[in-house]
Symmetry: C2
Subunit: 406 residues, 2 copies
């Protein structure tokens, strides 16, 4: 196993990790409390929502992650513990405290995540009982249950495991995520947890995580709204016993590549499960002047309601794509841009040098009938590229998000 081995859809916990997922009664009938535990204190890195309105657990974790270590993560679904004031913060602290008491670990090394309804107090009695049950149920086989317990309106479970070799030692990295289903009746939240038994320095872990998050979760769009609870965390506990990975080494590159793969896989699964989504769209902006220009353009396209509805309507409407690039803030010359549409059915150029060219409308229609569409925007201005992922905007998006809470 010289290269990256991917166990798609599988959640195989790396050495030294245990997990569980149980039903505590926060939701009506589905699992709603998950616990992740590393037998050894792990190096850790995390990214959080940049929304100024941050849920209580986000505020707690932002502080705790500063020291670059963690040993457990307690997660509840069904209630976001957001816009809940000082009481909400106390509740988050008490969730962590309960975990630290049960597992006999340092309270400061417990992170907390919540997802669900905004502005309602956590039912703490149920939550604390749920934490007890979750601690009792911890197992090396519990990854799947934990991934189940963080789901909200997700229609399928999102997990992936990668294995790779660092100087003869097999390293496992598993990730699972939820999103971007709308938490009825409130808002979408993305949570993502990556666990690995790699031995890696805090600095290298932080760099690899932040950079790959930027290329993956930060390049997807379901509806352009940003949650109060978005959190992605990685724990690396060193139990694979590999020589510690440092920045600027070949081993770092191997680790980075695996992490990028895991994050990208989860990001794409999140988009594919976007509310009401009927089609998946990958946007490649190529030959941009700078990486920033490529990223701005790629994100603007997947965020555009007009592009999303055109994809839903199977309409080769390149004018909307070009216009979305136009207001993206990217620096580019519109009169040089070429645009291509691609799917399993073939590929066609629909715009050349920023203008109309003849193309086979029947073929365009065939291409756009597929479920997975790739849009390529060639800026012909430089060497940088970026990829983003999104879904279409359908009647069902409006239905799911427009239904009155009852």
């Amino acid at each position: 196993m010289e290269e990256l081995e991917i166990l798609g859809g599988s959640i195989e916990l790396p050495k030294g990790f245990l997990a569980s997922g149980i039903f505590a009664g926060i939701k009506k009938s589905k699992k709603d409390v998950a616990l992740i535990y590393s037998e050894k204190v792990a190096n850790a890195a995390a990214v959080f929502t940049t929304n100024k309105v941050k849920a209580a657990p986000v505020l707690l974790d932002m502080k705790r992650i500063e020291k670059g270590i963690a040993q457990a993560i307690i997660i509840n679904s069904g209630n976001a513990n957001a816009c809940t004031g000082e009481k909400g913060f106390e509740d988050a602290v008490n969730m962590a405290k309960k975990v630290s008491q049960l597992l006999k670990i340092d309270e400061e090394n417990v992170l907390v995540c919540s997802t669900g309804v905004i502005g309602a107090p956590l039912p703490m009695e149920k939550v604390l009982k749920g934490i007890e049950a979750a601690a009792e149920n911890l197992s090396t086989e519990g990854g799947y249950q934990a991934a189940e317990a963080i789901m909200t309106t997700d229609t399928f479970l999102k997990g992936v495991t990668a294995k790779f070799v660092i100087e003869g030692k097999i390293v496992t990295m598993t990730g699972f995520a939820k999103g971007s289903g709308m938490i009825h009746p409130n808002m979408a939240t993305m949570l993502s947890f990556i666990l690995t038994d790699a031995s890696i320095t805090k600095v290298a872990l932080n760099k690899a995580f932040k950079e790959t998050v930027d290329k993956t979760y930060n390049m997807i769009s379901v509806d352009g709204d940003m949650s109060t609870n978005d959190t992605a965390v990685i724990l690396a506990n060193g139990e694979a016993q590999n020589k510690i990975i440092e920045e600027g080494t070949h081993e770092f590159d191997v680790f980075y590549k695996a992490l990028e793969y895991v994050n990208k896989t989860l990001a794409k699964l999140i988009v594919k499960d976007g509310e009401g989504a009927t089609k998946f769209m990958e946007v490649n902006v190529i030959n941009a002047k700078t990486e920033k220009d490529a990223r701005l353009a790629a994100k603007s396209i997947v965020n555009s309601n007009l592009v999303k509805t055109a994809i839903f309507g199977e309409d080769a409407n390149w004018g909307r794509i070009l216009a979305a690039v136009g207001y993206s803030g990217a620096d580019f010359d519109a009169s040089r841009v070429d645009i291509y549409l691609k799917s399993m059915k073939g590929e066609i150029k629909v715009c050349e040098n920023g203008g109309y060219i003849f193309f086979d409308e029947a073929l365009a229609k065939e291409i756009l009938k597929e479920k997975e569409i790739t849009v390529t925007v060639d800026m012909k201005a430089g060497e940088y590229s970026a990829t983003s992922w999104g879904c279409d905007l359908s009647y069902d998006y409006v239905k799911i998000n427009g239904s009155y809470r009852t």
Copy 2:
């Protein structure tokens, strides 16, 4: 008539203006060429789309408006003359040239606007014949026909006339606009034309126009996508014979107030005619630290798909409103924010100090059943406020914009 007199819905051309609207065959059956003409060269100001992808007529007008004067505006609907390269620019120039020949005026004083399909060449033969017909039909009663000829998917005509007195002279200001209907199969465009017989300096006109545009057209959102063709122009020809209005005078304030009223009326009409819109929403952000913070927050709320679908769904979902403020870039303290919902049926506070408070859900439902909803966000941080206007996001928006062009 000491104060502002408003002739809602009426388009009464000010002294010295003529206009016409005719059918030239660019569209299938509806009027598609409009001409506006001032007997005297008028002082002029304009604002244009900030999209980097600009239609040919926008590029032409941006150059011509620099000298602050204009005498005629030729407008076609049905074809946006956007993404049409050098040929498109030549076509725009030739539209103006034709007008200048027919009306015997300086070519440089003719502005051009187009709205419609992107990426298709203008049918110039039809356009030039249409311009001849439009010139022949110019009349002091032609404002209504001109307003009709700029419509695309608009479901009603948008016009307003205001009258006010400047030192004993009656001044008339009339405005008409189109948008934000989607130009099937391409994109929404806003065009707005304000004509007045006021005598006002170029500097004062420019200041008043840019500032009021910022508070009106720049504070509305239908779908957050920005067109390649958006243009708003004002012509002031001085035929009211009032003493020339300069900045910093009482007369300037009177003019400014009238202009703000006219622009705001048109902006609100555009939103009310938003594609698929079933509800109109006014958002007031009050007591912000700075004007910028108030504007960012107000715009973010009307732009949020989640807020739009909540309004469509008649759901008092204050968490989505607060979250949209959170990612707006505005500086504020979430734990101080109060949120109110209001309509003809009453007003309720749904969020206090950034958190849940008890409110009457039945009353909230009654309030949100109305067609016009006001959202007030009190930041309790300063003295600045801003207002934005938007519509809901409905099944019909998806239907209108997701239908394949045929």
